[in-house]
């Protein structure tokens, strides 16, 4: 796994505002599922928008495949095929009342021939399991449906990296399941996924790497170790995932084997199924 995208010593402040990022470092490895965690206002969305080229760092740089991102028209154009951002509110991205037309926007901008555009639209809609909505008007869709159509709009650009800001916010359990299922399909198709969230339970269950944005910087590591650290989580104003807390206790009680590291409810239950008897000291 090599770094497809890197933030190198990135400083950023909105005009007239306090610094949001100071020396932020992040590496997005190809094929990984990275969760970027932080409280509201921590700067995780800002970091995502720097990675996608939507914001230009005040200092430091974004590296794409080892080369610094060029903020020229052509450089940004190439970059948009490397990484696409899906915003939290789907209405921030859906500008057309026709679902099919909206999803075709990116490919049309790439200047592709019409038949290729058509293929990409069909492919993206199918990957997100919203093919049946293609001919419905955007304003008649439910929130969850609009969210998946917005993701399809980004996917039709066939980006190597898909960055999603709070993709499960506002969705009910079955909506979350649908969204995560769609993401799993994208991962299987080879897309690198970056998800900004403040849901620590989701991050632990879903990600294979975690980056916690705190105090303008980034702490990057394995989910299970980073999300166990009470100091870090306090500083970041986040909770510890319940699976870790409960898992630790059950390990101490001998209900879980010593090496068990459950990441979600299912794995916790499964590991309990065959409890290794605790040896007497």
């Amino acid at each position: 796994m090599t770094g497809v995208l890197r933030a190198v010593a990135v400083d950023f402040a909105y005009p007239g505002g306090p610094p949001v990022l100071t020396g932020a470092e992040l590496e997005v490895r190809r094929g990984s599922r990275l969760a970027v965690l932080g409280a509201n206002g921590s700067g995780k969305s800002t970091l995502l928008r720097c990675l996608t080229g939507a914001l230009r760092p005040d200092a430091g740089c974004i590296e794409v495949e080892g080369r610094p991102l060029q903020y020229s028209r052509g450089g940004l154009r190439r970059h948009r095929q490397v990484v696409q951002l899906v915003t939290q509110d789907p209405d921030d991205q859906l500008f057309s009342a026709s679902v099919r037309a909206d999803v075709s926007f990116g490919p049309v901008n790439l200047g592709l021939p019409e038949s290729d555009v058509r293929d990409r639209v069909t492919e993206a809609l199918d990957l997100l399991a919203v093919g049946h909505l293609a001919d419905r008007p955007t304003h008649q869709l439910s929130y969850g449906e609009r969210k998946r159509v917005a993701i399809a709009g980004a996917v039709s650009m066939r980006p190597a990296v898909l960055a999603l800001d709070e993709p499960t916010a506002g969705l009910d359990p079955s909506g979350v399941e649908d969204a995560l299922g769609a993401l799993a399909g994208l991962a299987a198709a080879g897309t690198t996924l970056v998800m900004a969230t403040h849901d620590v339970d989701l991050a632990l269950a879903w990600a294979d790497e975690v980056a916690v944005v705190v105090g303008g910087g980034v702490r990057h590591g394995a989910p299970i170790s980073l999300l166990r650290s009470a100091d870090l989580l306090d500083l970041a104003r986040l909770r510890r995932p319940w699976v870790i807390t409960v898992g630790d206790r059950l390990r101490a009680l001998g209900v879980l084997p010593p090496q068990a590291e459950p990441r979600d409810e299912a794995s916790l239950l499964e590991m309990m199924l065959h409890p290794v008897p605790v040896e007497e000291p």
């Binding site: 696409q84 921030d92 991205q93 500008f95 009342a97 490919p107 008007p137 304003h139 008649q140 650009m157």
Partner: protein, 259 residues
């Protein structure tokens, strides 16, 4: 956030897949027939054809037509009543009154309006706005204008939802109990929707920038093929309508035509 009944009908219409140009020909032909031919029998004939097509093959729900008629009713009734009232009575006195002549003029206008509105509804309730805009773009209407119109269409649903939500919140806190409260509520409502509109534009700009927005809102355009059968049927039907209306002698009263 489903929107006006006509819009809902248009998106689920069995005629949706017909070429917008074909439907424009039919509706436009009916509108012109109602406008240009002698009121009797053309207006009732056009109204009957338009409503018949809408309720029949185009399967527009009757409820949708009824609501549309209600929407147009306030202006039509007020305007028609004003025409019906004249300044001199039949016996020569001066003052507001209703005469046979003024009443006939009012009935004529009412017939025109019903026929014209029905003809426009036939198009509106079978053709989503995005199809009409795409048609306009292909026919050479300037791209920025079509783009802006498309954005107006998309965003008006978002803003209508905002308007409804803010107003509901105000109602809950007694925002419209009396005239003074209504005035206190209306201005913040307008300001809130306007600020939200600005905010939406800014956020959409940021959202689209990431998708390669460089000034052009071009999208895939699925042109619906024109149907020779539909066009021939339309032309033949309109011809019959025109010939029939011109052949039938104007019966009953002689309408007062102001032109």
């Amino acid at each position: 956030m489903t929107g006006p009944a006509i819009d809902v009908a248009a998106w689920s219409s069995p005629w949706r897949w017909k070429s917008p140009g074909d439907k424009l020909l039919l509706s436009g032909g009916l509108v012109l027939a109602a406008l240009l031919l002698p009121t009797w029998p053309a207006s009732p004939a056009v109204a009957a054809v338009a409503v018949g097509l809408a309720l029949g093959p185009a399967r527009v729900p009757a409820r949708v037509l009824a609501r549309a008629a209600r929407a147009a009713a306030v202006f039509v009734l007020l305007g028609t009543a004003t025409i019906a009232v004249t300044w001199r009575s039949d016996d020569g006195g001066f003052g507001p009154t209703v005469t046979g002549q003024s009443l006939a003029a009012a009935v004529d206008t009412l017939a025109h309006t019903v026929a014209g509105t029905a003809a426009v509804l036939l198009l509106a309730a079978t053709t989503p706005m995005t199809d009409l805009l795409a048609w306009a773009r292909r026919r050479g209407v300037a791209e920025p204008v079509v783009d802006v119109a498309g954005l107006v269409y998309r965003m008006l649903f978002v803003l209508l939802a905002t308007l409804g939500a803010v107003r509901a919140a105000q109602v809950a806190r007694l925002g419209y109990v009396d005239r003074r409260a209504t005035m206190r509520s209306a201005a913040p409502l307008v300001a809130a929707v306007l600020v939200r509109a600005f905010d939406r534009a800014r956020r959409l700009e940021a959202g689209l920038a990431g998708r390669g927005f460089a000034g052009n809102l071009g999208v895939l355009d699925d042109e619906r093929p024109t149907s020779p059968r539909f066009v021939i049927g339309t032309v033949a039907g309109l011809t019959v309508l025109v010939a029939g209306c011109l052949a039938v002698p104007t019966s009953g009263h002689v309408p007062v035509l102001p032109w």
